[in-house]
């Protein structure tokens, strides 16, 4: 029997003071994020915006960003969700340390992350060298490198967030599913994933956003070639060197796109 979540209050809200003690810090939190964004919007050169957007590099960069970030999120979902689930239910030291290792890309300055990717998948890399010699495949300077860089940087966010959410799924549901004959996979797909949906949505949003903003690892590992590896943030950065106004205009557009995408998706997805 569920308790209805609509508040019964039609008017009076008596514990106002207590509500204030939540709203004030929350408002501070909002301000810390919103004030700089507002400043950016206030100072943006709106008149020149159409002209900035007409630049030939804009559309390829936005398209590449959308494609690669979507791929990154899909990879995270496919590969990160089982990982998060196994970690959430794992006990013991090995799991603890694996968990910590997976957070390393969050800590690594992205540029160093890019170097690490080069050392791994580059022409002389641990994996890249045999790949080059045997299959003749080179990864750097291709869109695949962009995706690899984004996955490296963003998937850990997804895994950490989803693991937290999966941990919150009552273990009794797993156990019950097992008695009903559900294999681990069935339990994962039919019980854990649906019950952790809010966390998965949050994790996907985090990963998508992080991938969309990814800059350092991409530039170092994938390079910056219009149409192939120049994502939106690289375009912004490139513009920043010469014309900060244009860069700001571009980022404002990027933000708008992301707010709209996230707002629309999450509003539909969650709740």
């Amino acid at each position: 029997m569920s308790i209805d979540s609509r508040p019964a209050s039609a008017g009076v809200a008596s514990p106002l003071r207590s509500r204030t003690s939540l709203i004030v810090p929350a408002a501070v939190g909002v301000a810390l994020v919103v004030v700089p964004l507002t400043a950016l919007l206030l100072r943006a050169d709106w008149a020149a915006l159409p002209q900035h957007l007409a630049a030939p590099t804009v559309w390829p960069a936005v398209r590449l960003s959308l494609v690669t970030t979507t791929t990154t999120v899909l990879i995270s979902l496919l590969v990160g969700t089982p990982l998060a689930w196994l970690l959430a239910r794992a006990t013991g030291r090995a799991a603890t340390w694996l968990r910590a290792v997976l957070t390393v890309p969050l800590v690594l300055p992205p540029v160093v992350g890019g170097v690490a990717l080069l050392l791994a998948y580059g022409r002389n890399g641990v994996v890249g060298a045999p790949l080059d010699e045997i299959l003749g495949v080179t990864i750097p300077f291709t869109p695949v490198a962009v995706v690899l860089a984004e996955v490296f940087v963003a998937m850990p966010f997804y895994v950490v967030a989803v693991e937290g959410a999966m941990r919150q799924v009552d273990r009794r549901y797993d156990a019950l599913a097992a008695t009903l004959g559900a294999s681990p996979w069935h339990t994962f797909a039919r019980v854990a994933v649906p019950l952790a949906t809010p966390g998965i949505a949050a994790g996907a949003a985090l990963a998508w956003a992080r991938a969309l903003g990814e800059f350092g690892a991409t530039i170092t590992f994938a390079g910056n070639f219009v149409g192939t590896t120049q994502t939106a943030p690289l375009a912004v950065y490139t513009a920043l060197e010469q014309d900060p106004e244009a860069a700001i205009a571009l980022s404002v557009v990027m933000l708008t796109v992301s707010v709209v995408v996230l707002g629309a998706l999450r509003g539909r997805w969650v709740r």
Binding site: D4, A8, A10
Partner: protein, 359 residues
């Protein structure tokens, strides 16, 4: 709990609320100190009414007045935290991260009681329900019945103006149940607020409640004191719960009522028209042949089911048209009469064992 709550004017509520496609429209009233038992089939809206009283479900219409104060009215509704209710939910919902003591102390602490007073109160409440030794256990380490007692203690510990108990004793073993029922009876007798008790157990209702309210499909079908209800059930469901055979009929003569079973002879009554006829299962005797002699009501029936309850047996019978009669006979007669589903027997009820009252 005596003297702690100000339920001078008791409870006066008219609850109109919906949950999905299901609606309730129920009026409940109780004087201060009264215990109101709410009974009814599964899904009849008992829990829904409790939630509406607690403020967890908004009223669509109606009002809730408790102790002279308006908790909910047409314009205005207090939120749950501002109502002083003690709510026990059927699926107890203990806070999983708090110990039994933490759960029981949650309400007092939330209402600002100082720490030492809370600890004392918690000890008292747990001890009264026989679970003092479980104080430091988390809900994960409690059995079902233990958890339910903790939840009961939690509801009682808030000094509520309105105590709302949803199946408080359902998970208790019979011995504990007797003890807790006695403890609760004691507590409720000393309590000057109103208690609304949802239960499926007629025993709980009869021993604890001053008045019974029966719901069906979100509407009240009968209410009254326990003896009124027990003596004169007015719906098949109520009759089943209090353990009577009940038939609607039409009074045709001073002592005969025409029912679906056929004419039933009664000790006599003083009215005409629609009439209820009731008799106890133990008043039904079964015979292999049509009996001669004093019972003036006899019917040929077919056995539908036999339930053995130790030395007694409950026999469910139906007449040709499927109208049910329940008989209670000794286990010995079951063997003697070879009662099993399909057997045809004669049932007899003395006129003096039949009650008849206007519908």
């Amino acid at each position: 709990m005596a003297g702690t709550s100000g339920g001078r004017e008791g409870l006066d509520a008219h609850v109109v609320a919906t949950r999905g496609t299901f609606g309730v429209d129920v009026t409940v009233r109780a004087a201060p100190g009264e215990v109101l038992a709410v009974l009814g089939p599964n899904g009849s809206g008992k829990t829904t009414v409790l939630h509406a009283l607690a403020g967890l479900l908004p009223l669509e219409e109606g009002h809730v007045h408790v102790g002279g104060r308006t908790w909910a009215g047409p314009q205005h509704a207090l939120d749950p935290a501002s109502r002083r209710t003690g709510l026990l939910l059927a699926d107890h919902l203990l806070f999983p991260h708090l110990t039994a003591a933490g759960n029981v102390g949650f309400g007092p602490r939330a209402r600002g009681m100082p720490g030492t007073a809370v600890a004392e109160r918690v000890t008292t409440e747990l001890a009264a329900l026989g679970i003092a030794d479980l104080a430091d256990r988390r809900p994960g380490g409690l059995s079902h019945g233990q958890a339910q007692r903790v939840a009961l203690a939690r509801a009682l510990a808030t000094d509520p103006h309105l105590l709302l108990l949803d199946e408080p004793l359902a998970a208790l073993d019979p011995a504990t149940r007797t003890d807790v029922r006695a403890t609760l009876a004691h507590r409720l007798a000393a309590y000057d607020g109103v208690t609304v008790l949802v239960t499926h157990d007629p025993l709980d209702a009869l021993t604890l409640a001053d008045r019974l309210v029966f719901l069906e499909s979100g509407r009240v079908v009968q209410e009254g004191t326990p003896s009124e209800v027990v003596d004169r059930p007015r719906s098949r469901y109520v009759a089943q719960v209090v353990g009577l055979n009940l038939y609607a009929g039409n009074a045709t003569a001073v002592d005969t009522v025409l029912t679906a079973l056929g004419p039933v002879v009664t000790p006599g009554f003083a009215h005409v028209g629609a009439t209820w006829v009731a008799f106890a299962p133990s008043a039904v005797s079964l015979f292999p042949e049509r009996p001669e002699g004093s019972p003036r009501n006899t019917w040929p029936l077919t056995v539908a089911a036999v339930e053995l309850l130790g030395r007694l047996a409950r026999v469910r019978l139906v007449d040709g048209a499927g109208h049910p009669v329940v008989a209670e006979v000794t286990a010995a007669s079951v063997t003697a009469l070879r009662l099993h589903p399909g057997t045809t027997v004669w049932a007899a009820v003395k006129a003096s064992e039949v009650t008849a009252y206007p519908a």
